[in-house]
């Protein structure tokens, strides 16, 4: 064994200072993200807090001599799974934020007490069982002479863990088919209306008007979308005014509409021009 390998083994026998520093930075961040996920009212904020936790856990894996798992954690968990969560949150919509109403009385208090109890039991058990652990460490296996971390994991998967690995493929196929079955919406059985049925419905009066709305700018003094269409008598067609365009606010043309109704002096074909409007 070379001296370098001996040095690596001797150094790997206990936790280095750098790892301790990274733990004391990443551990609180992970805890903060987890707590934020619970306490955030908005579900999207919860998802982002969980992303924070998962990222810091991924870096923790890399520090803990599991570089492959660290990258898989970042790529699969924060990259794929959490983005899937965010997609679903966007589809479900804003009203997905939680209700504050307690359906079961005292449930939150009971859950908190149970949580503190569970934390106390598990933490004390772990702390008692694993005092003064000297890690065997994977430095030897992860070193290039020992074929490296990824190669060793691959060898392990395809020899010792081959059958579970094959079962995994069955599981993934089942999950994909299940997602397709659950997400499938059959639009044909619900029945889409044909064009003829729609026309008959329109003329039966089930819609507001039989014809489509007049387009803006049709028969108007300009081709701008902001310009309303004109009726044969030169007045403004109110249905043609887009509610979305502020420059053509419907109220702006109230004068013309009243003119058509006969309340004021009759409007001429150039009623839209503001200068001529002032003169008349």
């Amino acid at each position: 064994m070379t001296t370098a390998a001996v040095a690596v083994l001797a150094q790997g026998a206990e936790v280095s200072t750098g790892e301790a520093i990274s733990f004391w930075v990443l551990g609180p961040i992970a805890l903060l993200g987890a707590l934020g996920m619970i306490f955030a009212k908005n579900a999207v904020h919860s998802a982002l807090f969980l992303v924070l936790t998962m990222l810091s856990l991924g870096v923790t894996y890399m520090v803990q001599q599991a570089p492959f798992l660290g990258f898989v954690q970042i790529i699969v968990y924060t990259g794929a799974i959490m983005m899937l969560f965010l997609f679903v949150l966007m589809m479900v919509g804003k009203e997905s934020s939680d209700s504050v109403v307690e359906v079961l009385r005292g449930q939150r208090l009971a859950a908190t007490v149970l949580g503190v109890g569970l934390a106390g039991i598990v933490v004390s058990a772990v702390a008692r069982a694993f005092t003064d652990v000297t890690p065997a460490n994977l430095a030897g296996k992860n070193a290039n002479g020992g074929n490296g971390n990824v190669e060793n994991i691959g060898r392990s998967i395809f020899t010792d863990w081959l059958f579970p690995f094959e079962l995994t493929s069955a599981l993934l196929i089942t999950a994909a088919v299940g997602a397709m079955v659950l997400g499938f919406v059959d639009r044909h059985t619900r029945g889409r209306k044909t064009q003829r049925e729609l026309v008959e419905m329109r003329f039966r009066g089930e819609h507001d008007r039989p014809s489509p709305l007049p387009g803006p700018g049709v028969f108007a003094t300009s081709t701008s979308v902001a310009t309303p269409a004109l009726l044969p008598d030169g007045s403004v067609a109110p249905e043609s005014i887009s509610r979305l365009i502020e420059s053509a606010a419907a109220e702006e043309f109230d004068l013309e509409r009243e003119a058509v109704a006969g309340n004021t002096t009759p409007a001429d074909a150039r009623a839209l021009n503001p200068s001529t409007r002032e003169e008349s």
Binding site: D98, A136, L171, A179
Partner: protein, 99 residues
């Protein structure tokens, strides 16, 4: 510092996830809490692999990740189909089996 601290962190994360499952009412957030619990277990598996000096723990964590991915796909599809029929993602609204 010993690797035990990683196990303690994992225990705390698991507890937070469990409390979240009990407390939150939104089905998607409940699902995220389950993911947090799976992550906590992964952290302890990685730590055990390191303490033990064998890679089996890391392989198991890898399998946990695969199962979690499959579970998320199916679970979110179920949540979506429930949302489509009931217009709600709250776990309180899916109570047809109660009475």
């Amino acid at each position: 510092m010993t690797p035990t601290y990683y196990l303690l962190l994992s225990a705390l994360l698991f507890t937070i996830g469990a409390v979240g499952v009990l407390v939150r009412r939104n089905a998607i957030v409940v699902f995220m809490c389950i993911e947090l619990m799976l992550n906590a277990v992964n952290l302890s598996l990685v730590t055990f692999a390191r303490i033990d000096g064998r890679l089996d723990g890391q392989v198991m964590a890898f399998f946990v990740m695969v199962v979690a991915a499959a579970e998320v796909v199916v679970g979110l599809a179920i949540i979506m189909s429930i949302f489509r029929t009931r217009r709600s993602a709250s776990v309180d609204d899916s109570n047809l089996l109660k009475y």
